[in-house]
């Protein structure tokens, strides 16, 4: 095998990993603080993609409208997520986990049909923004600028979030909420709004991931249920609720997918599920997570 081919596979895996990181980090943040496994996270990702397409259509495909669309889509999804948490989900916190799981599954069903009614069932696509439409020769392969941007964006977002969580007052409160919500509430913090805020941020990341993926993949119904399982796998590999764990999980997932195809053709979807099962058997709290309760 040519080294340039292997490098191409590596870069492909890296790009896929960064998209997955965007989605899975939101899922992991929400789980880390709220202890809710959000099946609807994939639906938020899908809505982000459709909204981005819609906004690009409104502002016109030429020029840099794509960036506006990505940001607008992410914000729209974030507001929707926060509203759902505030109005509905919070009434289920005292119930068993099953009720919360099924509530988010009900959202998956409803949002999938809302998207079908609004945008139809055909494939939609968005073109790359002109500023990143070029490509670059790197070690004998052609890499689109857009993919490079995504590869750089992933670690940047990871660093920014890590700094926010570790170095700011809000980050301290959020970390405290993940550890002991009763104590935090007794100390006078408004835990209810922290939860809504986390849902806002988590949904923002899902929406952003969906919007940014549109230039590389077509938007189709069913992308919601497909992506959520991948995001679960990433989060489980890294450790539920662990931020850097999610980053590591996404990197591993991307590479297993890219190179799994070479080792076992056709069985790469099998390989990642098997990896998730192995991690859960050997180290249920994930590579970088902590055992909880």
């Amino acid at each position: 095998m040519e080294p340039s081919f292997l490098f191409g596979q590596f870069l492909g895996g890296l790009t896929a990993a960064m998209f997955l990181f965007l989605i899975a980090s939101g899922l992991s943040l929400i789980f880390g603080v709220l202890r809710v496994l959000n099946f609807a996270h994939g639906s938020f990702y899908m809505l982000g993609a459709y909204l981005a397409w819609q906004i690009v259509r409104w502002v016109g495909p030429e020029g840099e409208g794509f960036w506006l669309a990505a940001l607008g889509a992410a914000l729209g999804v974030a507001i929707l997520g926060a509203a759902i948490e505030r109005l509905l989900l919070r009434h289920l916190y005292r119930r068993e986990e099953l009720y919360q799981l099924l509530f988010t599954y009900a959202l998956v069903l409803v949002l999938a049909d809302v998207a079908k009614v609004t945008w139809g069932t055909g494939q939609l696509s968005v073109s790359r923004p002109p500023s990143l439409s070029g490509s670059l020769q790197l070690l004998g392969i052609t890499v689109p600028h857009y993919n490079l941007f995504i590869i750089l964006l992933g670690p940047t977002i990871a660093l920014v979030f890590w700094l926010l969580l570790q170095r700011t007052a809000i980050g301290r409160v959020v970390r405290a909420a993940a550890l002991d919500r009763e104590m935090l509430s007794a100390l006078g913090a408004n835990v209810g709004w922290i939860y809504t805020g986390m849902f806002f941020v988590g949904s923002f990341l899902a929406g952003l991931g969906g919007a940014l993926v549109t230039p590389t993949q077509s938007i189709v119904p069913g992308m919601d249920v497909a992506v959520i399982v991948d995001a679960f796998i990433v989060v489980v590999i890294g450790g539920l609720g662990s931020f850097w764990g999610t980053f590591l999980g996404a990197l591993i997932f991307g590479q297993v997918l890219a190179f799994g195809i070479l080792v076992f053709p056709g069985f790469s979807i099998f390989a990642v599920s098997a990896l998730m099962a192995t991690i859960l058997v050997v180290r249920p709290w994930g590579l970088l997570g902590r055992p909880i309760r």
């Binding site: 986990e97 409803v110 809302v114 796998i233 539920l240 979807i269 599920s273 099962a277 859960l280 249920p284």
Partner: protein
């Protein structure tokens, strides 16, 4: 006042009448209900009786369906044998996967069951030579039902109606077995584990072993139900093991009421009839299902049976048999 109505018998007899109505559609719906009621009830052995939330029950449904269909279609194995083999294969995989799953608790248990189900789905989806891959296995044959022609009354029925009788009898046997399991000392220990795993451990119950046993039994019956469904559906497809299929019996169980033995069966009937009604008006059935599910979660967490039992209690102002055992087997045995 013990004026007990033999509901089980009445329902079984009513179902027996369905093919005599002469409508292909009614028989179709009734077969669907009967088979999926078994699937949902097998799940409830874990969910309602042992307190295990699994998100991968479709794996065993799919394994049963593929095993039975392959044996019948490729090897010409007689139906009854292939059907039992479907259940046995599902039970075998439930034992292997369950061995690992019962070591985890709560959300991790649910995630691992989901992971194993995804593996099963991926294998069904990609192993073209055996499972037919994405295309599945179409044209699964009906069992040989010619012997029914010798039976008076049954000779003139269509093959779909004959298969309904077979499915009804087999599922009724499964329900009888499940009922016995739930009422047995074994079933009682499962409810002890559900109510308080630490205490169960403390009085010397091997919690993991019992959970594994429940997992295998649930897998077995899910496999039997899948095997019937593959024949009824005239084909087996990878979707049978996909994670969204695992959500179906969860919804049925919740709709019917997971605290009751018959809850999931009632839920299956309600869901399938609702589905038939809604899909004749609109293609957006998932939207309606999502709304129904939300209303249930917020307003009727006990499901249909739980709500009816509660209403009866309020009407009569006297206690009815509660979902949880009124006497506490732990203190009695201790």
């Amino acid at each position: 006042m013990t004026r007990r109505v033999p509901w089980t018998l009445l329902v079984a007899l009513t179902l027996l009448v369905v093919p005599f109505l002469g409508s292909r559609f009614y028989t179709f719906v009734a077969t669907d209900i009967v088979i999926l009621a078994l699937f949902a009830t097998s799940l409830n052995l874990l969910l309602g009786f042992t307190g295990l939330v699994t998100f991968g029950h479709a794996a065993y449904f799919g394994i049963g369906a593929y095993t039975c269909a392959l044996l019948m279609k490729e090897l010409g194995v007689p139906f009854l044998l292939a059907w039992l083999a479907g259940g046995a294969m599902a039970a075998f995989f439930a034992a292997v996967f369950g061995f690992f799953c019962v070591r985890l608790t709560k959300i991790y248990f649910a995630m691992l069951t989901l992971a194993f189900a995804q593996i099963v789905w991926a294998v069904c989806f990609k192993w073209n030579d055996v499972t037919g891959g994405e295309q599945g296995l179409p044209n699964v044959p009906y069992p040989d039902l010619e012997w029914m022609d010798a039976v008076p009354l049954l000779a003139d029925f269509r093959v779909g109606d004959k298969f309904f009788f077979v499915a009804l009898v087999l599922v009724a046997c499964c329900f009888a077995a499940l009922r016995r399991i739930v009422d047995s000392p074994f079933g009682r220990i499962l409810t002890v584990i559900r109510d308080n795993p630490e205490r169960a451990q403390f009085i010397g119950i091997n919690v993991r072993l019992y959970e594994l046993a429940a997992f295998v039994v649930a897998g077995f019956f899910a496999g039997l139900s899948g095997a019937l469904f593959g024949i009824f559906n005239r084909g087996v497809f990878p979707d049978f093991a996909y994670w969204t299929k695992s959500a179906e019996p969860l919804i049925m169980t919740l709709l019917g009421g997971m605290g009751h033995f018959w809850g999931p069966a009632v839920g299956a009937a309600a869901l399938i009839i609702l589905n038939q009604q809604i899909t004749s008006y609109t293609e957006y059935w998932p939207f309606v299902l999502g709304l129904v599910l939300m209303i249930l979660l917020f307003a009727f967490p006990g499901g249909i049976v739980g709500t009816l039992a509660g209403a009866r209690w309020r009407l009569r102002r006297r206690p009815v048999t509660l979902p949880k055992p009124a006497s506490d087997p732990v203190s009695r045995n201790a």
